[in-house]
């Protein structure tokens, strides 16, 4: 029956252990849950905070760069328009001047060297752009030439410009090398005199065009400005490259009126172009600007935006991490406390249930035990009769009845302890000095400790607060714990008992130099009927009863243990065991 009772209660204890295991798992899960939640929460906050920040920074940067780009494009267009007008006007003016000369002077007059020289001198006085002047007859022979080269008598009938001017009357050539082998371009004007055409031709200083183009380059690091012929041949040397008369890679666009701007990304650069056709659509003027050069000022803005972004990000990250960590730590602590409380309640409920069960079973065992006791008593009575006394087995019979009585008494004790565990003993209240209670405990167990060569060291705080509690029940708890420590050490060791004030109450610690316990045993030690002692030495009720008593007195009992190092029990007691009850009573 007792075995059945123990089995029954142990299964209840098993449930407690499962619950405890669940709590540990739950705590780990809780921690994992909060870690996940915190990460998620922080990610959301970062997302919410960073998106507007990035958007704002991005918008500022985008709008600023768009404004700068627009400004550059406008400037480029303005310069291109200006240069187109200037160059077209320059060429038209020179062509007109030459036309006026041709139509105000006769061929015969101009083919005279002196006359042509005089005319050239006059022309140079009003326009320094003319480099030379030549008169060519209708067969392409240069009949007279005034200028720096020896070109008199040269034959031009196969020259492109000659063929063109014969058709067009006025012709402005592309840049070419010619007989002089120097890049130049000419303006030629045809006049028909007495039915015969002749040509007045002048070389124009190409540096004038170079000058117009080079002054069209603007910006910090400068861009490029050049003129291409219809065939894509460079007509001038640019500011940066000497590439005159070389073929450009530029894809020549079809002819268009006015100014056209384009954009091209090349090698990490953003190149802006303003293009315009000049000279009756024979030349394409291109002004090029690297946007990044112009965006140089943007670096300052970009740095400021970046600095604001970094500072704001740091503030957001720091405050988010701090606030979130603190808030979640509090939440987690609160949940853990709830979990502990729930576990405690479950434990209390289980203990109460076990108590009830034990009480019922104890009563059921009590009756058969009483019958056994009476039967043994009756056999004992009958053995006093004379005829039985003469039996050869008389002494065996007497011993057996005595053994039955002894074991009934043992069973009675177990039931008594079981009832002690189950019984709701009323708590008495008196003013206690904990140190004196512990002194009594030590005195009570000192004999046993000395016998086993165990030293009990007391380190009590002087003038420890008096507490209101139940002296007898505390005595029972201390005896249980110190007794357990002695049993754990077995022989040769030390028990260290300390007392000190803590949080308006008293903390009693009992540390032993015993073998310690692994976690799986430590988790079960407060379970009823759990014992590591030999079958006839421990009932497994000592610590569970102690746990119940301390809880009833408003305190707390915890244990720390490390294998091969020892075990320490911590018992905290409130200033008054009534405090917690009053608090509990006030709870809804």
């Amino acid at each position: 029956m007792l075995v059945a009772l123990k089995t029954c209660i142990c299964s209840a204890c098993e449930r407690l252990r499962v619950l405890k295991g669940l709590r540990m798992t739950k705590e780990k899960e809780l921690h994992r849950y909060y870690t996940r939640l915190r990460t998620k929460f922080m990610s959301i906050i970062f997302f919410i905070a960073f998106i507007p920040l990035i958007l704002l920074g991005g918008t500022i940067y985008y709008h600023y760069s768009a404004t700068v780009k627009e400004k550059v494009i406008n400037e480029l267009k303005f310069v291109a328009e200006n240069r187109k007008g200037t160059i077209d006007l320059f060429l038209d003016d020179r062509a007109n001047s030459l036309s006026v000369l041709a139509y105000t002077h006769r061929f015969d007059y101009l083919k005279d060297k002196k006359n042509l020289s005089n005319v050239f001198e006059l022309l140079k006085m009003v326009d320094s752009a003319f480099q030379d002047l030549g008169v060519i007859d209708n067969d392409g022979n240069q009949v007279m030439y005034i200028g720096p080269y020896q070109l008199a008598g040269k034959q031009y009938s196969d020259a492109e410009w000659f063929k063109a001017v014969m058709k067009k009357d006025v012709y402005i050539s592309d840049v070419f090398l010619g007989f002089r082998k120097v890049p130049h371009f000419v303006i030629a004007v045809k006049r028909i005199e007495n039915g015969k055409p002749w040509i007045l031709r002048a070389t124009i200083d190409i540096n004038m065009i170079n000058h117009f183009m080079s002054t069209s380059i603007f910006g910090k690091n400068g861009g490029d400005a050049y003129i291409l012929s219809k065939e894509g041949i460079y007509q001038i040397s640019s500011a940066n490259y000497d590439r005159i008369l070389t073929k450009s890679d530029f894809k020549m666009p079809p002819v268009f009126p006015g100014i056209r701007e384009t954009e091209k990304r090349h090698g990490g650069k953003v190149l802006l172009y303003a293009k315009a056709w000049l000279k009756n659509n024979d030349w394409l003027m291109i002004i090029e600007q690297n946007l990044k050069d112009e965006l140089g000022t943007m670096i300052h803005v970009k740095n400021i935006v970046l600095l604001i972004f970094i500072i704001s990000s740091l503030i957001i990250i720091l405050s988010t991490v701090l606030i979130t960590t603190q808030a979640f730590a509090r939440l987690e602590k609160s949940d853990r406390e709830k979990l502990e409380l729930a576990e405690k309640l479950v434990r209390s409920d289980r203990l109460a249930a076990i108590g009830k069960l034990a009480s019922g079973i104890a009563h059921e065992i009590n009756n058969p035990l009483a019958v056994i006791a009476e039967k043994a008593g009756w056999i004992g009575d009958l053995l006093t009769e004379e005829d039985v006394k003469n039996s050869p087995n008389y002494s065996e019979l007497v011993k057996s009845t005595q053994d039955i009585k002894k074991h009934v008494q043992r069973g009675k004790k177990v039931i008594s302890r079981l009832m002690g565990f189950a019984r709701k003993v009323d708590v008495t209240h008196e003013k206690i000095e904990i140190n004196s209670v512990l002194d009594e405990t030590c005195e009570f167990l000192n004999k046993e400790a000395k016998f086993r060569n165990i030293v009990i060291i007391k380190e009590f705080q002087d003038a420890l607060l008096y507490i209101v509690s139940d002296r007898a029940q505390l005595q029972q708890v201390f005896v249980n714990i110190v007794n357990n420590a002695i049993d754990a050490i077995d022989k040769d060791g030390m028990i260290h008992i300390t007392t000190r004030s803590q949080d308006g109450g008293v903390l009693v610690s009992v540390a032993d130099t015993g073998p310690g316990m692994p976690d799986e045993i430590r988790e079960k030690i407060f379970d009823p009927f759990f014992t590591t002692k030999a079958v006839d030495k421990g009932t497994g009720l000592g610590l569970s009863t102690s746990y119940g008593i301390i809880e009833k007195l408003g305190g707390q009992i915890t244990v720390e243990s490390e294998v091969d190092k020892g075990t320490t029990f911590h018992i905290t007691l409130p200033l008054s065991c009534l405090q917690k009850r009053e608090k509990a009573a006030r709870l809804p």
Partner: protein, 129 residues
């Protein structure tokens, strides 16, 4: 000395009969009853000095049996037999007029002492009258 007339009431037959035999051996004039109802009937028909009644019995429990016996014959001194779980009931029984209580499994010498005391108490009360 006159034999003490005792009524032993317990629903546990083995316990009751064995205890009755042992008490008889110790010169107690014992009558036993297996239930509260039977005990009440016996009280109506016979005279007893002391009644030893188990607290926990089916139908009419020990406390109810005590009440009814005290109503029929208030002079009978009653000792309650109680298990550990029913100490409270034993105390309650004493408030209702029981002389004392003995815890099961009981020691026969303790029961005899308390029976003797109860009987003396009864005699004392009768003398006072």
């Amino acid at each position: 000395m006159q034999e003490i007339r005792m009524l032993l009431v317990d629903d546990e037959d083995d316990f009751r009969t064995t205890l009755a035999n042992r008490l008889k051996l110790r010169k107690i004039d014992i009558t036993d009853a297996g239930s509260g109802k039977e005990a009440i009937e016996l009280v109506k028909q016979q005279s007893f000095d002391v009644a030893v009644i188990d607290v926990k019995m089916p139908e009419i429990d020990g406390i109810e049996t005590l009440k009814q016996i005290k109503q029929i014959k208030p002079a009978i001194e009653i000792i309650m037999l109680t298990g550990h779980a029913s100490i409270k009931s034993g105390m309650e029984a004493m408030k209702l007029g029981a002389y004392d209580y003995v815890m099961k499994p009981c020691d026969i010498d303790e029961l005899l002492i308390k029976t003797g005391e109860a009987y003396q108490h009864k005699l004392l009360k009768e003398k006072e009258k």
